[in-house]
């Protein structure tokens, strides 16, 4: 039995041999340009550094020019590992007259170095990168590809805004899943029809490698160009939201945005959002977050005012009582007031505490402890 037969016996066969393709030495990969009219991108040129800086911890370039953001998206042969290749890289950017997308496609593996060189040159002309999930996927993947081709990948070391994270911070509570297609539909109001499922992309490309029939890749190219344009539209929409939180229809979104702003140390903007979110389902959480924000900033009076309001409107359960009691005891040294607040909290919790809920029990114990301490303080006075 010869080796070939053994290999077939061991590995199974899909039948049929494929003729080795004779191919000329490549000189470049395929380059596709797509131009989009300006109206889709209205407002995009006005996005300011100040606004974007509130969405991310990334240090943004200075001066900041929306035309010098490079939007990047890749199409790949798999999901992980060094055998996964980005066979298509799309780069997009705003111009004064619209939006340009340049797609670089390797028609075979030997065109990869050319593709990477285009990516490198493209990146060099811009100040920052904007992607969707690029921090975890596209950028490390490209870094690996540069490395595998013994090329320097430092062009990728640029300020990077990953819109997946920024979008998740705002929409995850309401939308749960935050992939680009869903955001297009729910946020930008443009559902995509007849889109190629991402899982079929690698198979299509392998089919293309075999047959070199361009039509096989057409919807992948369209999809990629669309994704890149969507990135810019999405960023513009998000910037508008950050600038005008009062125009956001869903209180959940405003509240989530406030939390993100608070986390990234923009307390003033955060409080504005929290105030706007004191309505509907988010009223209690937003009030508490607002008070918490004031307390963190050292403005305990403002915080106390909100706790009082919460108590008056019956929002937020027992927590505002506890916070207020702490404030009365430790800041105002109003032990009588603190005692009264504590006792009201105990009464309020009274019934709930009978249930076998560990957390409630614990709160109740803490309250009782506080009450004893306050009583003894009052006794000493």
């Amino acid at each position: 039995m010869n080796l070939r037969d053994k290999l077939r016996a061991v590995g199974g066969t899909t039948g049929g041999t494929r003729p080795r393709q004779e191919k000329e030495e490549p000189r470049d990969c395929r380059h596709i340009e797509v131009f989009r009219e300006a109206e889709e991108f209205s407002g995009a040129l006005e996005v300011s550094r100040d606004t974007v800086s509130r969405m991310t911890v990334t240090e943004l370039p200075e001066p900041f020019d929306p035309r010098r953001i490079l939007y990047l998206d890749t199409e790949t042969t798999g999901l992980m590992g060094s055998g996964t290749v980005a066979f298509l890289v799309g780069l997009g950017y705003l111009t004064d007259s619209g939006f340009e997308v340049h797609q670089f496609l390797m028609r075979d593996y030997d065109e990869e170095p050319y593709l990477l060189r285009h990516v490198e040159e493209g990146l060099r002309r811009f100040d920052m990168i904007c992607t969707f999930n690029g921090a975890a996927f596209d950028i490390p993947l490209l870094e690996g590809r540069f490395l595998m081709n013994r090329m320097r990948g430092d062009c990728l070391q640029k300020p990077h805004l990953d819109l997946l994270h920024a979008a998740r911070r705002i929409w995850k509570p309401r939308l749960k899943r935050c992939n680009l297609g869903r955001l297009e539909e729910m946020i930008l109001g443009k559902p995509r029809s007849e889109d190629l499922p991402g899982s079929q992309v690698p198979q299509r490309y392998f089919e293309y490698l075999k047959t070199k029939q361009d039509y096989l890749l057409q919807d992948i190219l369209d999809h990629n160009a669309q994704d890149i344009a969507t990135l810019c539209v999405l960023l513009t929409r998000m910037a508008e939201m950050y600038e005008h939180p009062e125009s956001i229809p869903f209180s959940q979104d405003v509240y989530a945005m406030g939390r993100a702003l608070e986390k990234f140390h923009h307390p003033e903007d955060a409080r504005k959002c929290f105030r706007l979110a004191i309505r509907g389902k988010t009223a209690a959480d937003a009030s508490a977050a607002l008070a918490h924000s004031y307390r963190r900033a050292g403005d305990r009076e403002q915080a106390a005012k909100i706790w009082r309001q919460m108590i008056a409107s019956g929002r937020g359960g027992v927590q505002p009582y506890i916070e207020l009691a702490k404030y009365q005891e430790h800041v105002l040294r109003d032990y009588r007031g603190a005692l009264e607040t504590t006792e009201r909290a105990i009464l309020m919790l009274g019934e709930a505490a009978l249930r076998e809920d560990g957390a409630v029990q614990e709160t109740q114990n803490e309250l009782q402890y506080r009450r004893r301490r306050l009583k003894s303080r009052l006794g000493k006075e």
Partner: protein, 756 residues
């Protein structure tokens, strides 16, 4: 009472001694030491001194010097001879002198990694230097992985993680690969058979990547005592290695006692069980305050013996912490606690499976009891090596069970003590295994025309084949991975066939759980519907075997019988590699065969009496396996000299004997090899004895057997000649009921003639 006193007492006890087949005393051996090498970083010496180490044992010195000269080294050392120094010293020294230097430690199990890291930590902490040692395995939290990849000076991992977690993601490990100075592989004797063949290919992939990143790491390998450490090491890493096997560590006097439990039923040749005997010997040690480890072969036996010993020492509150069990399945924290207890002397007796056989540091104990032969000489020495003090005497008891191998060992103690022809075999070029790893390698880095992969033959043909199958894509002189799969996830390093059957316990309808897996060639035998499947001593019945989905569903039962499937095996010849005609007229051959296995029925057999209670049918598809085989064709005149029924019985007897001796001399587990006889063989057309590798592609056992064919027959003859039975027993040619009245005599006749 100390060990010497106990040994004296036992030797004066005729009732004990009449069952002792051999009492071997190995004299004490002084330490042989030498000074630290001059190149050793100065920061290391004071730290070693603080741990009471002022010089190196000769084997440590020879090893580190060879490493320093830039050689690849394999160190063969018994348990507790300070082998970790052989790699920790050069590695730490290198990193102290160049903080970019990196090292990769590979241990076969997670428990061992944990043990090694804690020892390294200690040294590093005492020096107060910033050398980062990280374990990278399935338990490493995702958040910590990035730090390990970028900053770990010493990365500790296992073959499985290297294979599927590191190599396929090498671009994230640039720092490691660019600066890799040392690759340490400990316990290499565990890498034999399929596991070793896989690891050898993982190493080929690793070295390929190192070459890409421009690093030239050196290997430091450690092995327990086996016959061919150098050969094993060289096959594993594909390069020549320097062998260091002169142990310089001191050792007190050692007693090695071979104990064969007395025959209790002479007619049936039934002996007293090994468990009750072990119970009394381990109990005797415990009563006399001699710290001992008892090794049992199954987890169940461990539990049973642990309970027996605990019962002996329970305090009024029922506590018996001086006696502990130890096996896989215990939580890591509990294991660490037991190990500490042993080192500190708080635990007097531990009963363990081979989980404690590997190099986990528990210090030297006074005594060791082997309840049954662990299967290979290397394992037996590893286990026995747990007993051994540097100064005082130690004692090892081997208690034989009634199995054929145990009986062979206990009646041939010389085989065990002096002849050590065991080899650890592996075959990195097993086509199944090789092809899987070539795929992984292509995924990691495209092959270029003319690239080699270790010494694997036929690379170009293999890559062209993968190209045809559209798994790789050839363009511009390179083979690029062009499939969507992640090839590393398709191989399990510890078995050859890609797809294993999972065994699912459905006893609790609300909570199905996977309790084990089995390779697809064994599954039809043991997991056919209505088979009784034994797991940790419990019985289960197979309710459903989903052959296509590779799943067996079993339910706990309690029956008085077990099942034994009738396997119909057909062999057909694919290719002859070698063929010879020996002077006596015996033909021998080596080649590739196809083994077609079909299970058609099974027997239900009652426990204890072994009577057949009934039959059942099995409807399963055939399974095919391509593997290597060797065979003996009986000379025509020899065949003519015995009646055909007699010939069949004799051949069956010889086959049974070969089944006993082959695992011993080829150093493999009994299930790695199959021996069959055919009165009219489809392979040769003559009466033939055939031995084949019982795993797809083979791992080289048949080749080895071909080379050792005379030895195997001689040993088979020795077993049957030395056996005290009259006409056959399970310890030699098989019971009379199976081989007939003339089986033993004919088998001996055939063997003598074949050897002549």
């Amino acid at each position: 009472m100390n060990v010497t006193q106990l040994a004296d007492q036992l030797r004066r006890d005729p009732r004990f001694m009449e069952n002792v087949t051999r009492w071997e005393v190995m004299p004490a051996r002084p330490a042989r030491t030498t000074e630290y090498p001059s190149w050793l970083d100065d920061r290391l010496k004071p730290v070693l001194a603080k741990r009471g180490i002022h010089a190196l044992y000769t084997h440590q010195a020879m090893s580190v010097e060879a490493t320093h000269r830039g050689e690849d080294v394999v160190v063969v050392t018994p348990t507790a001879s300070g082998k970790t120094m052989c790699y920790n010293l050069p590695v730490l020294s290198a990193i102290l002198q160049n903080e970019d230097a990196r090292a990769l430690y590979i241990f076969p199990t997670k428990a061992l990694s944990a043990d090694q890291v804690s020892e390294l930590y200690e040294l590093i902490e005492m020096m107060g230097v910033d050398i980062k040692t990280y374990t990278y395995d399935g338990d490493t939290p995702a958040a910590a992985r990035k730090a390990v990849r970028q900053a770990g000076h010493i990365v500790v991992t296992n073959p499985d993680m290297l294979h599927s977690g590191i190599l396929p993601h090498h671009t994230k490990w640039v720092k490691l690969f660019e600066n890799l100075r040392y690759i340490v592989i400990d316990e290499i004797h565990t890498y034999r058979g399929v596991f070793g063949s896989n690891l050898a290919n993982v190493i080929r992939r690793l070295l390929r990547l190192c070459e890409f990143y421009g690093s030239h790491p050196r290997f430091i390998l450690c092995s327990a005592t086996i016959a061919n450490p150098k050969e094993l090491a060289e096959t594993l890493i594909g390069r020549p290695v320097t062998l260091v096997d002169q142990n310089g560590a001191p050792m007190g006097e050692r007693h090695f006692v071979f104990y064969n439990p007395p025959v209790v039923n002479r007619q049936l040749g039934i002996r007293q069980g090994a468990i009750p005997v072990t119970r009394s010997i381990s109990g005797l040690l415990l009563k006399n305050g001699i710290q001992a480890i008892t090794f049992a072969r199954s987890r169940l036996t461990v539990e049973v013996l642990t309970r027996y010993l605990k019962d002996m020492v329970r305090d009024p509150l029922g506590n018996a912490g001086r006696v502990r069990g130890y096996r896989g399945g215990y939580l890591p924290t509990e294991r660490r606690e037991i190990e500490r207890g042993l080192r500190a002397g708080q635990v007097d007796a531990v009963v363990s499976t081979n989980a404690l056989e590997l190099g986990i540091d528990i210090g030297g104990l006074d005594a060791c009891v082997l309840c049954g032969y662990p299967g290979t000489i290397a394992s037996a020495w590893q286990q026995a090596g747990r007993a051994g003090r540097r100064q005082a005497a130690s004692i090892v008891f081997f208690v034989a069970s009634s199995s054929a191998i145990d009986q062979y060992i206990v009646t041939h103690p010389n085989y065990f003590l002096h002849q050590s022809p065991e080899n650890a075999l592996l075959n990195p070029n097993n086509l199944y295994i090789l092809m899987s790893h070539v795929k992984c390698a292509a995924f990691e880095l495209p092959f270029e025309d003319g690239d080699s992969f270790g010494n694997a033959p036929g690379m170009e043909e293999m890559l062209d084949y993968l190209d045809e199958e559209q798994i790789v894509h050839h363009v511009d002189g390179k083979y690029h991975w062009s499939a969507e799969d992640f090839p590393a996830s398709e191989i399990s390093l510890r078995s050859a066939a890609a797809e294993n059957f999972v065994i699912i316990d459905i006893s609790d309808p609300a909570h199905h759980r996977v309790i084990g897996e089995m390779d697809r060639f064994t599954a039809p035998m043991l997991l056919h519907e209505n088979a009784i499947y034994m797991h940790e001593g419990r019985q289960f019945q197979v309710e459903k075997l989903d052959f296509d989905a590779c799943k067996a569903f079993i339910r706990a039962v309690d029956t008085g019988y077990y099942t034994d499937a009738d396997l119909n095996i057909n062999l057909s010849l694919l290719d002859i590699e070698k063929e010879e005609q020996l002077p006596r007229g015996t033909g021998v051959g080596l080649g590739e065969i196809k083994v077609t296995a079909l299970v058609t029925m099974f027997k239900k057999i009652r426990f204890d009496t072994h009577e057949t209670l009934g039959f059942g049918h099995v409807r399963l598809p055939e399974t095919d396996m391509h593997t290597t085989a060797m065979w003996w064709t009986l000379p025509k005149d020899l065949v003519a000299s015995v009646p055909s029924d007699t010939l069949k019985n004799g051949m069956m007897g010889v086959a049974n004997l070969l089944r006993i001796v082959c695992p011993l001399y080829l150093m493999c587990s009994p299930q790695d090899i199959a021996v069959v006889y055919q009165v009219k063989s489809p392979i040769t057309g003559e009466p033939t004895l055939i031995l084949y590798d019982n795993c797809p592609g083979g791992i080289g056992l048949s080749q080895k057997a071909y080379g050792a064919r005379d030895l195997l027959l001689e040993k088979a003859l020795q077993v049957v000649s030395d056996c005290s039975c009259k006409k056959g027993c399970p310890s030699c040619v098989g019971p009379v009921g199976e081989i007939g009245q003339d089986g033993k005599q004919t088998a001996m006749y055939l063997l003598r003639e074949l050897i002549r």
